[in-house]
Every structure is written in structure tokens, then in C-alpha cells.
């Protein structure tokens, strides 16, 4: 829902918003709203929009890209504020609609049940507070490195930690576009591993939209560039054939004792 580019400030001076509660770049305002530093419901959006409009009027001839970014940021703010003011988005509620308890108009009743359920958890918590476990260090000599039961949050946290260590390496950024491309490369490799060879035209036959075609083409270029596959013109098929590079992949021999060091 919020995969919009965040801070793609062009080479021009970015818009500096001036409000009673905030003065600074628009992207910083958006960041603060996103992280809860500023309550969006109290944000005078009309004023933000007016200043953005003024800024764009100046900017239009200079950089379309920067203008687009500012529009997206302002639109995001409007979206966030509308979300905070309106009743819950019905589009996000599909699975819940069948449940009569969750229909609009039953909100108060429902809140009561949630409160009681929370109170019940609190009572349990109070009981557990009286139970003491063994101190954590008691079996340390046996424990070794603690394993992680990883979910997506852990995965992204791990990646973020690496990015932080590396500093602001622009190439390390993760964008929606990059991930989508990676996905397409993976799809292409699956296909090639299965079929060994695919016709160029056949690759695009099922593609419904332009974006898919572009992504597939970019993925193909990448795969060829990495020489995971070769492309050659087949006069027989009157098509370009994409062929998986031979060389069955061999996993490296396990280097013993590696895991402990990191």
C-alpha cells in the first residue's frame, strides 16, 4: 500500500514546508508522520497542499521527476490523513465482512469484547509474573549459538542491519522494482531449468501487460549477461532461442567450522 518512493529529491532545491508544528523538507514531514513523530490527524493538509502547489508552479519547467515526487508525497500524506479520519477501509476488510460482529455499527460492542479479552490476558500475565524460571546463564556452557526462528520481520531486520553497517551505499537500496525483477529472473531460471530451451516469442505470449513484458525482457538480459543462458537465432524456428547454459551447478564442498566464526 505504501510502496511509493520516499525521498527521491531531484537536483533542485526540495520543497520546504512551513507550518506551525513543522518546518522543513516535505520528505522529512512524511517521514515523521510515518514514524508517528507527528500525528497526521492534526496536520493542516490544505496548507501543505497549497505550498506544494505553489512550489510545483515554480518547478514545472525545471524537473518533471521532482514534481512527480512531490505530488506523490503530498498524495501520500492526504491518503494517510484520510485513513486516520475515515472509518476503516472496506477494501482491506474483505475477509472480515462475513463476521457479523465486525460489521459497521457493532464497533462499540466489539470494542467491549476486545477489552475483556485483553483483561483476561492481563490476569494471566499477572499469574505468570509470579512464576520464575531458571536464570538464563545456568546452562550456557551447553547452549552454543542461539538459533533464530525467523519470520519476514527478522529477515528484513537482518538485511537492514547489514545496510546500516555498510553506511549509505546507494546500490544497497531495496526497491520494489528491484525485487520484482529478481522475482522475474527467478521465474525465468525455473522455466529454463525445466525446459532447457525456450523460444523468445513464447516467453512473451502469456504476458498481459506492458510492465510484465518489460520485466521479462530485463530479466532475460540479466540472465544472458550472467551467462546463465545463451541466446541464438534459429532459422529453423524463425525465432530467437534461449538455451540454458550447460554446466550443471555443483554446490561447494562444505568448509567445516565456518558457521561458528560469524
Amino acid at each position: 500500500m505504501s510502496g511509493e518512493p520516499l525521498a527521491k529529491v531531484g537536483d533542485d532545491t526540495p520543497l520546504s514546508v512551513r507550518l506551525a508544528m513543522f518546518e522543513g523538507p516535505l520528505d522529512m514531514l512524511l517521514h515523521l508522520v510515518r514514524t508517528g513523530g507527528i500525528d497526521v490527524s492534526t496536520l493542516p493538509l490544505t496548507e501543505v497542499a497549497r505550498q506544494c502547489d505553489e512550489y510545483l508552479a515554480l518547478l514545472r519547467e525545471i524537473s518533471l521527476e521532482s514534481a512527480g515526487d512531490h505530488l506523490v508525497m503530498t498524495a501520500t500524506l492526504v491518503h494517510m490523513k484520510s485513513r486516520s479520519l475515515l472509518p476503516p477501509d472496506p477494501a482491506g476488510m474483505e475477509g472480515l465482512e462475513e463476521d457479523p460482529a465486525l460489521e459497521p455499527g457493532r464497533g462499540t460492542q466489539h470494542m467491549l469484547v476486545v477489552r475483556k479479552a485483553a483483561e483476561q490476558l492481563q490476569e494471566r500475565e499477572a499469574v505468570m509474573e509470579l512464576l520464575y524460571s531458571r536464570p538464563p546463564d545456568r546452562v550456557q556452557e551447553f547452549a552454543g549459538e542461539q538459533g533464530i526462528d525467523a519470520d519476514l520481520y527478522a529477515l528484513l531486520n537482518a538485511f537492514q542491519a547489514i545496510l546500516r553497517r555498510l553506511g549509505s551505499d546507494p546500490a544497497a537500496r531495496v526497491t520494489r522494482e528491484r525485487i520484482t525483477l529478481v522475482d522475474r529472473i527467478s521465474w525465468l531460471m525455473d522455466l529454463l531449468t525445466r525446459e532447457r530451451r525456450v523460444g523468445f516469442r513464447a516467453l512473451f505470449e502469456e504476458m498481459g501487460d506492458r510492465m510484465s513484458c518489460i520485466l521479462t525482457f530485463l530479466a532475460l538480459l540479466e540472465v544472458i549477461r550472467l551467462r546463465l543462458a545463451r541466446a541464438y537465432v534459429s532459422h529453423h524456428h524463425e525465432d530467437i532461442l534461449i538455451v540454458l547454459a550447460e554446466e550443471p551447478p555443483v554446490p561447494p564442498a562444505p568448509a567445516s567450522g565456518e558457521q561458528a566464526d560469524a
Binding site: 469484547v113 479479552a117 490476558l121 538464563p136 519470520d151
Partner: protein, 231 residues
Amino acid sequence: MREPAIAPDGARLRAVVEALVFAAEEPLTVADLVDLFPGVGEPALLAMLDDLVEEYASPDRGLQILRVAGGYRMTTRADLGEWVRALFRSRNRRRLSAAALETLAIVAYRQPITTPEIQSLRGTDPAGVLQNLLDKKLLRVLGRKKVVGKPLLYGTTPEFLAHFGLNSLADLPSLEEFGALLPPGAVMEPAAQATGPFEESGEDGGETEDGDGTTTDGTDETENLEDGDDS
């Protein structure tokens, strides 16, 4: 290689199981034991664990073995907790905020659930609370919902169960018990327990806690303790 030379049996196996219940970081499960002692068989191992619970369930013991989060965990007895606290001179702190408890309650009963869905039930944006609960490992991301926008889906963790002394989500009372106010059919049932990415599914979902009196007298005692808190 995985199994040390001689697999123990009889009294020695019982001793090993006792040591493992004590040592296990997360509650010890039958699956853990089956993994270590494939030759013994799950029924025998389960019986051994249950015998151990029995054996500890005496008012003369200072320790007990609880069934939590689908496993077994050794703790001090609830009615002695005040003395342990007196030794530590501070509370065994693990209290959650009201917002966190409400969010947990919603997720526990409705998982897998998305942020907008939680928001529709609590009325406020849960992002901050969610992050806190993810950091505490009481919640985890289960994946994405296949609707427009593909919002992330959240569920509870084994740590959630352990924190509240639950053996499984089925131990949560049905919301009917709170909801005299609710019309019939409007009740949220506890969600089926989701299993973690690297875990086998819970093996003993049918079991309930053995009700050794921990839940009845706990509330009053806590109030007393709060009066006497010198931290």
C-alpha cells in the same frame, strides 16, 4: 553422531528428561525428545513427561512443571513467587501496556490478521504497538494476504503462549464467555494455531493445562505484591 553413544533408559532416561526440562530455553516438547531418543517412541516419552509433571505436583515442592506453548517448562510454584521476588528485591517485570494487550487479544483470536483489520477493531493505527510486539517476539509476520495491496499478516508466537501460560490457543476462553452483550453468532473463536517456519506443528494440541491452582489465587496475591513493592 547426533546421538551420544549409549541411549539411556529407565531411571536414567527419566533423569535426562528432568535435566532437559530444566535446561530447555523454550519449553521442552515431545518432538524435542523424539528427536533425541528416536528409539524410545513418542507414547513412552509423553508418559515420562506426564509422570514428571505428576511427581512435581506436590505442595511440598518448590518447583512445578507447567504445560505451556505445547511443551513443558519448570518454574517456581505460583504461591511461592512472593518469596522469590523478595530475594530479587524487584518484580519479575513483564507487563504489557493496555494497547499491547488489546492488540495481542485481537491477533490471538483473529489470526492471521492484517494491520487494517486490527485497526478496524481497535480504532487506532497499530503500527507502533505492532513493532513493539514483533520486537518482543510475541507476534510474527506470517506472510501476505492475497488482496489488493497485499498487506502483511500477523500471528502469535510460542513466546506469546509462554508469556501468558497458555499451552495452545485453544486454552483461550471463547469470547462467548466475555460477550453476554453480543448477539449469538457474533463471537470470535480462537484462531487455529499457526506454526513457525522452522517448526513442526504442535503435537499435543488437545491437552489443557492441568489446573494446579495457579490461576485461581493469582490475582489477589498480585495486588498484595504491588503494595509491598519496594523497587
